[in-house]
């Protein structure tokens, strides 16, 4: 773990409010995750890797764009670790940097269709851009 990773791990724990050491490694978060099959690192791995300070891998992971924010892992965590908050904090580490937005306004027109609700666009912007 590099010094930068250690700093980032501390910040991720601070802004998420998550204490990964509460985790008892039951795997329920990943078991209930609706995006599990699309992820490279899964919710339980976020918890373990933040604890170990393996942040660089998480910053580059596909999973930070795949979490649906359905809060299933938050509701069902028997230890109230609430991994979705960690995934969100890692995503913020990425998109808070200048020029690192994952979704840009110029991409929107080609994504639209007749019925797509505004809510979808607003949600995606909230998740993928700063």
């Amino acid at each position: 773990m590099s010094f930068e990773e250690k700093e980032m791990a501390e910040n991720i724990k601070r802004i998420s409010g998550v204490n990964p050491r509460k985790c008892m490694k039951c795997g329920k978060c990943s078991g209930t995750c609706p995006a599990y099959e699309e992820m490279d690192y899964h919710p339980h791995e976020f918890v373990a890797m933040v604890e170990k300070g393996r942040i660089d891998e998480l910053l580059a992971s596909k999973s930070i764009w795949t979490c649906l924010s359905c809060f299933a892992c938050v509701e069902r965590c028997p230890r109230s670790v609430e991994p979705a908050k960690l995934i969100e904090a890692v995503r913020l580490e990425v998109i808070r940097a200048q020029g690192a937005n994952h979704l840009k306004a110029v991409q929107i027109p080609e994504l639209l269709d007749e019925k797509l609700p505004q809510q979808a666009i607003v949600s995606a912007f909230r998740k993928y851009s700063k």
């Binding site: 995006a35 795949t66 649906l68 359905c70 809510q119 607003v122 949600s123 998740k127």
Partner: protein, 264 residues
């Protein structure tokens, strides 16, 4: 009873049915929905990080406006309800967020989370009452088999939303019974529809939506009802294979109260 009403962006555009049938049904039930004069988009997703302040301000403005009108705040879209209710919870329970928000907004009277946020379904259950609603129904939806799809936003996290049992809810089934139809309890009624992932990874949204619609079809439901425009979209547009019509619960409410045509 009069509520301050927060419609949200989608109810003014792609989800007009959710809004207009809610209004005509409320009028028939003697409930007044007074739309907030200057509401802003809630942001559609609750900002979970503890240092997110600016992204919570529009919800606080709506909450504060309702307080200043001396009313409870009525919501209808699941996402708006989720965001506004959770931001309100932050204003009650997180001193750092409360202080920073008030420092920024500088309201005449600081906002400390005093507004009660009520979803339309909660209003039907707790203000009108499902027994009373059943009495007011003039055209019961007899013979209809309706599956309730709750999605995520109304239920989770249960300790903040306080909407219903997050794993075994019944409010929508009770609603369906009150309007004279038969509720069909389906698997996946409180699992994700795919949400905004339809923009990033449509295949994933299709998989999630199809699972829900398949569950409704195999249980013999003739209709799925939802309170969320994005769930409606995913279940309607992204489900592949057997299809079941996906309607807003307010449309069936207006139909049962005999005020649907008047509005349409």
């Amino acid at each position: 009873m009069t509520f301050s009403y927060y419609p949200g962006c989608t109810l003014k555009t792609k989800a007009k049915d959710l809004d207009r049938y809610a209004r005509s049904a409320a009028a028939a039930l003697g409930v007044e929905m007074a739309e907030l004069p200057e509401w802003q988009c809630c942001g559609a997703v609750y900002p979970q990080a503890k240092d997110e302040i600016a992204t919570k301000l529009s919800a606080v403005r709506a909450l504060m406006a309702a307080r200043d009108e001396g009313r409870e705040l009525l919501t209808l879209c699941s996402a708006c309800h989720h965001v506004i209710k959770r931001v309100n919870h932050d204003m009650v329970s997180d001193e750092n967020i409360r202080t920073k928000v008030n420092n920024y907004l500088k309201p005449e009277v600081p906002y400390t989370g005093e507004t009660k946020v009520i979803h339309y379904l909660e209003m039907l259950r707790d203000t009108v009452g499902f027994d009373e609603l059943a009495k007011r129904v003039t055209r019961p939806l007899k013979g209809r088999r309706i599956a309730a799809y709750y999605g995520c936003m109304l239920l989770r996290p249960g300790n903040v939303m306080g909407f219903d049992d997050p794993e075994n809810p019944r409010i929508m089934e009770d609603f369906i019974r009150a309007i004279g139809a038969e509720p069909v309890v389906i698997a996946y009624r409180n699992e994700c529809c795919g949400g905004y992932m339809t923009l990033e990874n449509r295949a994933l949204a299709q998989k999630k939506a199809t699972t829900v619609v398949d569950a409704a079809a195999s249980a013999g439901a003739d209709t799925i009802v939802t309170a969320c425009p994005l769930c409606q979209y995913n279940l309607d547009v992204n489900a592949v294979g057997e299809r079941v019509p996906v309607l807003y619960f307010t449309e069936l409410l207006a139909e049962a109260l005999g005020v649907k045509e008047a509005e349409a």
